[in-house]
């Protein structure tokens, strides 16, 4: 089995970090393969373009590998990298869209924004049925429609499967804020998908 893949599979967090600090090149490759997908995903969902996602991917690893000594191991290596990527993407987003509300500020919501309106029950339709309805582009569009502060929480928690604590560390917000935002994100996505499926699939 090739070395980098072996490393990725077998190296513990501590060993990987030691190897990185020694400047072990295979450890650098292993870190990319361990954390790169999520970094790319975060950047892509925040910035909306593959080119910019790749820029952030590069900037993140360049910056991280230059500043490895700043990483004290208080979080997982990937968590630290995700935080760097998130901050780089956010900086770029603010340059692009200065009006973007600060992610740290409480989100102002219309009172009824979370009240479900569409009650078409698509939950148990077979997947082929949903897939026929161009599912992927529907999912993409729905998640894009979320405010940044909700979108990032949803993708880290529900799509990437990170823990509430880890997401709180990455975003620099409280775990309660993560939970609140996750719930709002889910409700808004549910509403979007329900409207879509109701239009496409209801009354067949």
């Amino acid at each position: 089995m090739p070395a980098a893949r072996r490393m990725k599979g077998e190296l513990s967090e501590a060993d990987l970090l030691d190897a990185l600090r020694r400047g072990d090149r295979q450890a650098f490759a292993a870190a990319i393969d361990r954390c790169g997908d999520t970094i790319y995903h975060v950047a892509y969902r925040l910035l909306g373009s593959r080119e910019e996602a790749e820029d952030i991917l590069q900037e993140t690893f360049l910056q991280a590998f230059q500043h490895l000594k700043d990483f004290r191991g208080e979080a997982r290596l990937c968590t630290w990298l995700y935080r760097i990527a998130y901050n780089l993407a956010l900086m770029r987003l603010r340059r692009k869209e200065p009006e973007t509300i600060s992610i740290d500020q409480p989100i102002l919501l219309e009172n009824d924004e979370e009240v479900p309106r569409e009650l078409f029950d698509w939950c148990c339709l077979p997947e082929e049925e949903l897939l026929r309805a161009e599912l992927r582009s529907v999912l993409d569009e729905a998640i894009r429609s979320l405010p940044t502060s909700l979108r990032i929480v949803f993708l880290l928690r529900d799509v990437e499967g990170l823990s509430t604590e880890e997401v709180a560390q990455i975003l620099g917000i409280s775990t309660d804020a993560v939970k609140t935002r996750l719930h709002r994100a889910r409700m808004q996505l549910r509403e979007r998908l329900s409207q879509y499926f109701a239009g496409e699939l209801a009354g067949r």
């Binding site: 090739p2 999912l139 799509v159």
Partner: protein
């Protein structure tokens, strides 16, 4: 929307429920409500399905070419062939 204040309160709890963070006795009460209230039942089921669909289809991974360019930028090109799956 013919739903009561109680429904809104229960729907506010479904994320905690789905994440296993709702207190045991509240779980039982919520479950009872879902049996009795078709509207909340739909919202609950479609929320769960929404999460499932995103888990399965919502992920975006680093493309093989992006990975290659990253390896080159970091002078790791010689290690590229070590991961054949993403080319």
């Amino acid at each position: 929307m013919p739903r009561s204040k109680r429904c809104e309160e229960w729907l506010g709890q479904i994320s905690l429920y789905l994440d296993g963070e709702l207190a045991e006795h509240l779980c039982r009460e919520l479950e009872r409500h879902l049996v009795e209230c078709p509207d909340c039942h739909v919202v609950f089921n479609t929320t769960r399905r929404t999460i499932e669909l995103y888990r399965r289809y919502g992920r975006v991974s680093m493309p093989g070419e992006a990975r290659e360019r990253l390896f080159r930028t970091l002078n790791l090109d010689d290690l590229l062939r070590d991961e054949s799956g993403s080319g």
